[in-house]
Amino acid sequence: MTAVSVSPASRITAISRLTALRVPPTVALAFAVILIVIAWSLAPSLFTSHDPASGVPADKLLSPSAAHWFGTDHLGRDLYTRVVYGTASSVTSALIAVVIAAVAGGLIGLLAGFLGGWVDIVLARLVDVLLAIPNFLLAVIVVTAIGFDTTNAAVATGVSAVAVFARVMRSEVIKTRQAVFVEASFLMGGSRWHILLRHVLPNASRSVLPLAVLQFGLSILVIASLAFLGYGDPPPASDWGLLISIGKDYLKWPWLVYAPAFVTIATVLSANRISRWLRKTD
């Protein structure tokens, strides 16, 4: 009873708070999706009572129902549970990829942009090489080199995105380095390092944030694609990409593909939307 009387009011304040923050509704929805995904990855057991690794073999390949929201797979496991439990690995691996790309790329871009001269020339060629090899090809080659599992696929995905971050960072650093406030800090007695760390880095990083969010979504896709080609974790792992990849062998039971694909698409779409919004509001 109290819940009924309270909820409309709290919803109104929530909405007005959102409008005060000028968050468009689609962005709010995107945040909600990402929040659910984060919650799934932190505490999957709160969202499902089934076991992701073992099922009832007799209940294999059931279609979606109230008992099994996404149906069951070829070993009788609840697909929704597998999607929920697979989230942590999918999200973590995408994060690993983003961190690798952002840190390595950011560092390369920072040094190239700030130091200039031959450092810039050498790093620029390195980045050119990384750019010249199609990203996905690069990821495939790297993952072969370091072995097939989801973490390695994440590392490979990260490596393949280093060049993008390096380029964006470099151009931002060069832009910032020429900013008047950098010279102003120099006149205030700031050393090179002080300027690099306190002025150039924070300013140049601002455009890296939306890129990182975007890259997060893309990494999920790339890692899923690698899993699709068979470069993922062994069973009973249930990363989204693996689930789709397993599902494609059972196309007669299409939910095995569509359910994890839908979750993947919703997550990536949300990340894209947030990235776009961050870019606009920056």
């Binding site: 900013a179 008047v180 406030f181 950098v182 010279e183 102003a184 800090s185 006149l187 205030m188 007695g189 700031g190 050393s191 002080h194 002025h199 924070p202 300013n203 601002r206």
Partner: protein
């Protein structure tokens, strides 16, 4: 045949839109206009009238809604903008009609001269191609004749080589030339109303005067009604028949120019008038007196620049930005560097600070040699010598808080204890008239004037002897400028600071400087005390600079003749 005759001979007035206008109907009538961007109303209930062949100026500080009104009238509001009220052109309501219904008026009846010439022409199309669009409004089927008309118009607006202009891309022309092109394109179809949104704010003072003269002449010759938008009261007073003064989207005062100007009724208009340097040359006379005294006592110069030359290589060609430059500044006084754009003012400033090394010559500040020092050695000089940049929007790191920004020099030079530094930060901010509540804000949350004060506070916090100010107010409104000038002068009076003040605004220089160097193409063509230069200019270049100060009508002319000092 004079170009003007040619013009009138080939054109007839475009009266297609309103064939038999009634004399009593004004050309433009704005009634209860309100404009909002999303939820924010930026123009509220604005009404005014502009008669045929007359001129009306909309004035007000930045953000007061001038451009918004112009765009609402032209129906060119950006996405998100929404206008309500009535706008009648020639008695015909135009705000509510369909785009299809309004489009015939565009260009033919209502011309538009935009604010920023550099961005107002498509960069990837030739001027000629874009001019043909304006010419298409003439109902002249023959393309060759249309081109002829365009070239004649270009000549008419003072472009010397119309054919070259016709074939050029925008980036190949200077700002002044582009502005003339834009004016030419606007008047080519002979509109009844010309809306000019700050048509000269992006231009040099000398060019500014030529453009304004051109507009005034066209208005008279072609009987065009002119809606002029400007933030410069002096220009408005000089050029418009009537004035509308805006603040925060609300009309503060309106009426015939002479009456508004000579006896402003609203407090805002009064203050605006008082803040215009050209109208109040002696506003800070008292504050400047200490400086004049030390000038007379012939103190040892704080700054000595002797025979400095700086040459840049651009595109393989040598460009002498500063040529055999010498001047000295006595302690406790303000020395102004004035000159048109590109005359070498900023280069001089950078040489002075050691940010650039001169090719020849020497510079010393407070007895210390600047030239030939390493960056490390320069740091010790910068403790006493600070710079305030032209644009407060770019000179403060947007990711830092105000407190951190102002404390940065103290931290870098390791001055005092933590507590002492906090103390000095507060003191510096108080000196420039900023409260402690701003400490935790970031520059983005401050107005332009506040930011420039922060920049000044940052230089002051080190307690330097000399502050170099490179056009510190050119990005700001007159009223904000007045506040900053006042801060600067009172600091000088109390702390005995020495200023080098760079500006292209001679009226401002006259208000605050003690000595002046006039620069032209890297050279000092004339220098002396303010009185010498302003009352008795020797060089034709100086005279032309002085002549282009907008005077606000005759009113100011006699003020200028009054002696001072």
């Amino acid at each position: 045949m004079a170009p003007q005759d040619r013009l009138t001979a080939t054109f007839t007035r475009a009266d297609r839109v309103a064939p038999t206008p009634l004399r009593s109907i004004p050309q433009l009538r704005v009634d209860g206009l309100s404009v909002s961007y999303g939820p924010h109303e930026v123009v509220t209930n604005v009404s005014f009238e502009l008669g045929r062949g007359e001129s009306l100026a909309l004035i007000g500080e930045s953000g007061s809604g001038k451009s918004t009104i112009a765009r609402a009238v032209l129906r060119l509001l950006p996405s998100g903008g929404h206008a309500t009220g009535r706008v009648a052109f020639d008695g015909q309501e135009v705000l509510g009609i369909s785009e299809r219904g309004f489009r015939p008026l565009r260009g033919r009846a209502i011309g538009f001269v935009p604010q920023d010439p550099a961005n107002s022409l498509n960069p990837v199309r030739t001027i000629g191609a874009q001019a043909q669009e304006a010419a298409a409004l003439l109902d002249e089927p023959d393309k060759a004749i249309r081109k002829q008309l365009i070239l004649e118009t270009f000549a008419q607006v003072g472009l010397d080589t119309p054919l070259r202009v016709y074939d050029s891309y925008p980036h190949q022309l200077s700002g002044g030339m582009l502005q003339r092109v834009l004016i030419g394109l606007a008047i080519l179809p002979r509109p009844a109303l010309l809306v000019a949104d700050e048509p000269t704010s992006a231009l040099d003072v000398t060019i500014q005067k030529r453009i304004l003269d051109l507009l005034t002449r066209l208005q008279h010759d072609l009987k065009i009604s002119l809606l002029l938008i400007t933030h410069d009261l002096a220009i408005a007073a000089e050029r418009a028949d009537s004035l509308v003064v805006l603040k925060d989207g609300v009309i503060q005062e309106a009426g015939r120019t002479a009456s508004v100007f000579s006896s402003p009724a609203s407090a805002y208009a009064k203050k605006l008038r008082a803040d215009v340097p050209a109208l109040n040359p002696d506003r800070y006379a008292a504050l400047r007196d200490t400086g004049f005294r030390s000038l007379k006592t012939g103190q040892a110069p704080k700054i000595e620049v002797s025979a400095v030359t700086k040459t840049f290589t651009v595109d393989g060609k040598a460009l002498t930005a500063v040529d055999d430059l010498s001047f000295s500044v006595p302690a406790g006084t303000t020395h102004a560097l004035v000159g048109e754009s590109g005359s070498g003012k900023t280069t001089t400033v950078r040489l002075l600070l050691g940010l650039e090394g001169p090719d020849t010559g020497s510079i010393s500040v407070a007895g210390e040699q600047i030239t030939g020092r390493s960056p490390e050695a320069l740091r010790t000089v910068w403790r006493h010598l600070q710079l305030v940049y032209q644009n407060p929007f770019t000179s403060l790191d947007p990711t830092w808080t105000i407190e951190r920004l102002v404390r940065e020099p103290l931290d870098r030079f390791k001055i005092g204890t933590r507590k002492e530094r906090d103390e000095r930060v507060r003191e510096a901010l108080a000196n420039v008239g900023l409260g402690e509540h701003l400490l935790s804000r970031k520059p983005g949350a401050l107005s332009g004037g506040q930011r420039q004060r922060v920049a000044i506070a940052r230089s002051l916090v080190l307690k330097p002897d000399v502050i170099v100010l490179d056009e510190p107010t050119s990005a700001l409104d007159v009223s904000v400028q007045a506040g900053i000038v006042e801060v600067l002068l009172s600091l000088q009076a109390t702390l005995g600071l020495t200023y080098v003040f760079v500006s292209h605004d001679l009226a401002l220089v006259r208000q605050l400087a003690h000595t002046v160097s006039v620069m032209h193409r890297g050279r000092i063509v004339e220098h002396g005390t303010v009185a010498d230069i302003f009352d008795n200019p020797q060089q034709p270049y100086t005279r032309s600079l002085l002549a282009s100060i907008p005077s606000g009508g005759n009113d100011v002319a006699h003020m200028r003749t009054r002696a001072f000092g």
